[in-house]
Symmetry: C2
Subunit: 198 residues, 2 copies
């Protein structure tokens, strides 16, 4: 699949990638946070782990060229290109229905946890327990007093990352549906995202 | 068990706690990082999650009174007292044998992952997949450029935390054996730690 596909804002998709395969994720339609999970295709007990990656990088966020490493400290996905220079979050979990209810939403609201499940099931894969993704394009600045804030992406429309699989993986992405804080942009709207495997 | 027990430096232990039970962990013998994991005693698929806790606190580290929340966003363990004012790490994973090998150690070295397994098995519990603990007394300052450092605890000998179980839990602690960086103190030595359930 070399053609560009569009991930509708607020939805998710999963992809299979062989070692060396690349995925481009591009903000072709406006600002948007994209949660990205990676799992060893041969053993979902091994997955891209943000805490192990921080320990590997000695940074909170990756620089271009850095690889996400697994809970077994093996490289799984490398940032081959990153036009944002590393403006991604590794600190906060993805949203789930309970988070929306905590913010006062009643009834159902789309959420990244359900997108993770739906994306995998669309590939015929029974989802393993969910884990902390890398939140591509998300900005969580730290205050001098240790506080966290959620602000609009530092990325600009047209920005992109190219991730290269360092082993055979299943990758999952979710164009985060969160519209209660300016996470996806100052207007709190969600946008479509383009992706391309090559 | 109201008596004080000593956790030898570099080793681990697991405890069962009912809702409302407290555990005091005290630096009675010098500086020492203590990794602490908490799991819902009725369902190990629910566990104290650092990323969800950060999302709940809107901070990197807890303040006295804050509760660690689970991957299902329920309070599981509260910081009832904390003489350090919250000088703990939630960013870095616990050590494992591979981490020591990456630092050049050959052969076996005690590590927090094995301590997690041993502590649970000593209670007759088959360990679930390990997850990111709170690293009590550990200091990981962030540079203005996003870099992480591992430095000696800001805590002082005699400092302590009192954790209160907010549900029936299994708690696991490991007096971290890492002696290749000044994580446990400027002398890179490990120390015994006292704990008491009440």
């Amino acid at each position: 699949m070399a053609e560009t596909r569009t991930l509708p804002g607020g939805t998710g998709a999963a992809v299979r990638m062989k070692r060396g395969d690349r995925i481009e994720i591009k903000l072709a339609h406006g600002l948007q946070v994209v949660d990205f999970w990676s799992m060893n295709a041969a053993d979902f007990g091994e997955y891209g782990s943000m805490s192990h990656s921080r320990s590997h990088w000695f940074r909170l966020s990756p620089r271009p060229g850095d690889a996400i490493v697994t809970n077994r400290r093996n490289p799984i996905v490398a940032f081959e290109e990153d036009s944002t220079g590393g403006a991604h979050d590794t600190i906060l979990p993805c949203c789930d229905l309970k988070r929306y209810h905590q913010f006062g939403v009643e009834g159902y609201h789309r959420n990244c946890t359900d997108n993770f499940h739906e994306g995998l099931r669309a590939l015929g894969i029974e989802p393993p327990p969910i884990f902390l993704p890398i939140n591509l394009f998300m900005q969580v600045p730290l205050g001098a007093d240790g506080t966290l804030m959620i602000v609009a992406p530092r990325a600009k429309p047209g920005d992109r990352v190219v991730l290269r699989a360092e082993m055979a993986i299943v990758g999952v992405m979710s164009a985060c549906p969160f519209d209660l804080l300016p996470l996806n942009g100052p207007d709190c709207k969600v946008n479509d995202v383009d992706y391309r495997l090559f």
